[in-house]
């Protein structure tokens, strides 16, 4: 518990730094006013709009007033939608979560058995096939896989809907699209981690005890092999929350990634700031979760 509180406190400077970087980047990439007004607008009109948005103030003052609002939970309003930026972001979160979790489940279902099997049957034809498949899975671009899945499973065989969000059926193809790449990476990692663990002395001990091979592999070895895998899972989950723009675009999935890119293009500052802030929080949370899982998996790790 003490560890949790300490970790929370440590995240504050990280979050502050993120707000500063995003704040500056979005301001150096261009002026939102030029996108909001027609090209024929006069300089006076532009200035007055800037003034009404508070963009005429010096940057430090703008930043601190942004921070001041942020503390009260006010991320400002979207220029484009004229609504509260935070609620725009939060609106997109369920869709993003849904896809992130589903993709992770797909990745786990694929990678855990394949990774273990290919380690146990190392250098066999099966192992070669799986390791080769993993390279392919990693190299395959998401948009291409997504389009192929749509072509075969939605257009030709009409099993799943083409795009959009709503039923469980809508979730299947985007989750497979995103899950495949992650599964490929995790399969390789589980394989190499298992290979290392299977060479350990305690596996020999487990064999000498007369345990069944399935218990040795799935319990004694896998529990140890999982520790490095959890790191990658945490990082991947964070990535899934942060942005899966291509897949979201292919499947017209109303997630956070789409909103973020739209907002960057429109220089919708408040939304960009709110979205990155929320994503940053989830990245930090998933890493914290990974730390907690480590502790559960490996009793040697203690946080003080």
């Amino acid at each position: 518990m003490k560890y949790l509180v300490q970790s929370m406190i440590k995240t504050i400077p990280v979050l502050l730094l993120i707000t500063l970087i995003v704040f500056l980047l979005i301001r150096v990439t261009g002026d939102p006013v030029s996108l909001m007004l027609p090209e024929t607008a006069t300089e006076e009109e532009r200035d007055s709009l800037r003034e009404s948005m508070g963009l005429n103030e010096p940057l430090p003052i703008q930043y601190f007033s942004y921070l001041g609002d942020l503390v009260t939970g006010d991320f400002g309003d979207s220029f484009r939608y004229n609504t509260d930026a935070l609620s725009l972001v939060l609106e997109r979160l369920p869709a993003t979560f849904e896809l992130a979790i589903a993709s992770m489940i797909v990745a786990i279902i694929i990678s855990v058995p394949l990774g273990i099997l290919s380690a146990v049957k190392r250098n066999s034809f099966f192992d070669l096939f799986i390791t080769g498949g993993a390279v392919l899975g990693k190299a395959m671009p998401n948009f291409w896989l997504g389009i192929m899945l749509i072509l075969f499973l939605s257009v030709t065989f009409q099993i799943f809907p083409v795009s959009g969000r709503g039923t469980l059926g809508h979730l299947v193809l985007p989750a497979i699209t995103l899950g495949t790449g992650i599964a490929a990476e995790m399969t390789r990692l589980i394989r190499s981690s298992m290979l290392e663990i299977l060479e350990q002395d305690f596996i020999r001990t487990a064999r000498s005890k007369g345990l069944r091979e399935s218990i040795i592999v799935n319990k004694h070895a896998f529990r140890n092999a999982l520790i490095p895998v959890v790191t990658i899972m945490a990082l991947q989950t964070a990535t899934l929350v942060g942005g899966t723009l291509i897949t979201e675009t292919v499947f017209a999935w109303p997630g956070l990634g789409q909103l973020l890119v739209q907002s960057v293009n429109l220089r919708d500052m408040a939304v960009v700031q709110a979205a990155t802030f929320i994503i940053a929080i989830f990245v930090i949370l998933s890493n914290l979760l990974a730390d907690l899982i480590y502790r559960f998996l490996d009793p040697r790790i203690k946080y003080e």
Binding site: Q200, S208, K209, G210, L211
Partner: protein, 322 residues
């Protein structure tokens, strides 16, 4: 012999490597009687550990027995199915290893690892196994055994972990215990405690022990009979007293001379010149000849047979007579 528990006959083990098969155990034969403690002695690379793994049926994936027979209580172990062999491991034949620091699984409690064997072999439920586990820890001299059951391996010292390993190995009352260098990785004081533990086991039960070691001190403490191995072969077999009093093979003599003696003041300790040959590049003739003080041209050509010079004493050397 009616009370023979284990008989190893002409055992040959090879490993598949990138350069083809490499044979590390080349026709090893010995037997263990009920209640007997047999020491297998040799330098690293002599094939003694591989022999023990072969007996347990837990050779690494690239290793295999390609010739010979292992008979345990009239059962031919090589003809057992995987399942039958597995059921014997940890039950009839148990093993303890050299490295107590790494031989226990770091992510499971001591209790879990102790119970596991009991549940698998003795059909116990969790509570019964837990009780028996505590009892076993007490037997091997672990204080506060109730609490140790809930500990993880990293919370125990090396000596404690080796005791846990012994408790685990003994929990199903094995007929044969194979101890592979059980004291090598431990401090001297702890070594003595572990040896005492093994000696008590020997005294108080009918368990046969095979102790594998390079340490003749350990041999003298425990063994009834000694098998000396060199380069994957048995070079001498003798009862303990006979071996120390009248070693026949030059290698055995070298090993015994290498033991420092407290009353002799010497400038330099004796050691056998050279190292154990690489299994993929064995010398012709007698495998020991490049290091042997007695070797002549004949030794480079003739591979000596293991020859019995008395009922219980055998040596593999053509130079030493009788």
């Amino acid at each position: 012999m009616s009370n023979e528990l284990l008989k190893v006959d002409d055992l040959k083990v090879r490993f598949k490597t990138d350069e083809g098969y490499v044979s590390t155990v080349n026709g090893v034969s010995f037997s263990v009687e009920q209640g007997e403690t047999l020491a297998i002695v040799g330098e690293s690379g002599s094939g003694k550990s591989v022999t023990s793994l072969a007996l347990m049926g837990i050779l690494p994936a690239n290793g295999e027995i390609y010739e010979g027979a292992i008979t345990f209580e009239d059962k031919d172990l090589r003809s057992l199915s995987k399942k039958e062999y597995r059921k014997m491991r940890g039950d009839d034949i148990a093993m303890i290893f050299q490295e107590p620091m790494t031989a226990l699984n770091p992510v499971f409690t001591i209790g879990y690892q102790l119970r596991e064997t009991l549940i698998v072999h003795n059909n116990m439920n969790k509570e019964q196994a837990h009780k028996k586990g505590i009892e076993m820890l007490e037997t091997v001299g672990i204080p506060d055994s109730d609490r140790v059951m809930g500990r993880f391996p990293h919370q125990l010292s090396g000596g404690m972990r080796q005791r846990v390993m012994i408790a685990m190995a003994l929990s199903c009352n094995p007929k044969l215990l194979i101890a592979d260098e059980p004291t090598t990785a431990l401090d001297v004081t702890i070594q003595a405690q572990i040896l005492t533990l093994l000696r008590n086991l020997k005294k108080n039960s009918n368990t046969s022990i095979i102790i594998i070691t390079h340490d003749l001190g350990v041999v003298a403490e425990l063994a009834d009979r000694v098998v000396v191995m060199y380069a994957g072969e048995v070079v001498e077999v003798a009862p303990i007293q006979e071996l120390f009093d009248n070693p026949r093979h030059p290698y055995t003599r070298g090993l015994i001379s290498s033991i420092p003696k407290i009353h002799d003041v010497v400038d330099e300790l004796y050691s056998i010149e050279g190292t154990v040959p690489n299994p993929s590049n064995m010398p012709t003739g007698c495998k020991f000849h490049p290091r042997c003080p007695l070797a002549d041209i004949e030794c480079t050509k003739v591979h000596p047979e293991l020859e019995y010079i008395s009922e219980k004493h055998a040596k593999r050397c053509i130079k030493v007579k009788g």
